[in-house]
Symmetry: C2
Subunit: 198 residues, 2 copies
């Protein structure tokens, strides 16, 4: 149909979540017809992100600076630390502007099924941050899934020797729900009603 | 939330058809987490397309070569010429592999509402191609919309002095339907049953 370059672009776009072959073709046509207003800005944005992309060595966030925008923000409260499974969860909570503290990204959740063990997550890094002191409360903001809750309980046990309050998001999250898909109202409620881990 | 580079990338993706702010954010996270397997190939593909992008000076198709892949294909039948409104229609028909001839992209359809007049479309270019001879049949493959059909009738009148058979896609297309959204079966039927313009 089209040249190999256009095919390659269509295939690269089709692999993005939310885009299939058909919507990727439409996106490519959109880009081809709007070279200056659509293709060029996307290309520039990708180049810049690709040049600067890094994993935050403090919290595990993905950003173009290290420490990341969240860790570098002086207005945030160092005494509050919110632990999430994935970068997407950090972004969802941060977007809601409801949590004034810092974050820590585990990089997944414990899973017997998928063979994810504690050493596969950035748990030692988390414990290192807490051991250095200055944190009063650790909010375990795992997903309300079986694996998320297993991970939260595991972390609560690992952290019980530290002089920190350990809380988790209020249940009220829909069962099986994932943070990144929740509306802000639900997130706000869950965060306001956070409670100590029993 | 994120750095300005990541925001810019999110916004550039959110402007693509089929992606909104939320799916753009998910796409960006996907890209950031898969730098080598997803971000890099997309960046390379965009760079290559951007370097080579051109409008075919023969048919109006968008491609990375001029004449385009379709015009340059020696296996196609020069005696059959299919006129379409948009590049997306050319791609839809070409993808179906049902039409063995050449194409001509008008770049739109006549529209009193949108102020699109004959001189805004590549009609003179079309007439030039037909005037040079060698074309036996012109298939008017306009959309089954009021404006598409108005355009087809206008073209049929402009072409009636030429020794060519003028056909149009069989009706049977859903009313108001646009070529690019049709399944292959419907396209095949409409193409097989094409008939002379009365
Ligand atoms: Zn960070
Ligand atoms: Zn061409």
């Amino acid at each position: 149909m089209a040249s190999s370059e256009i095919d390659a672009l269509t295939q690269a776009l089709a692999r993005l979540p939310g885009l299939g072959p058909r919507s990727a073709r439409r996106a490519v046509l959109h880009l081809l017809k709007r070279r200056e207003t659509s293709l060029a800005p996307l290309l520039r944005a990708l180049e810049r992100v690709n040049e600067a992309l890094s994993i935050c060595s403090t919290c595990g966030n993905v950003d173009t600076i290290d420490p990341c925008t969240v860790c570098a923000d002086p207005r945030r409260d160092d005494r509050l630390l919110c632990v999430v499974e994935e970068v997407s969860d950090l972004w969802a909570l941060d977007r809601s502007r409801l949590f004034p503290g810092r974050f820590h990204v585990l990089g997944g959740r414990l899973s017997a099924l998928e063979g994810v063990r504690p050493e596969d997550l950035s748990i030692d890094m988390l414990i290192g941050r807490i051991a250095r002191g200055g944190v009063d409360e650790v909010v375990l903001a795992m997903n309300a899934t079986l694996e998320g809750q297993t991970t939260a309980h595991y972390l609560a046990e690992r952290l019980e020797t530290f002089p920190v309050r350990i809380t988790q998001l209020a249940h009220g999250l829909p069962v099986g729900g994932e943070l990144d898909y929740l509306d802000e109202g639900t997130l706000a409620q869950a965060l306001r009603a956070r409670r100590p881990v029993s």
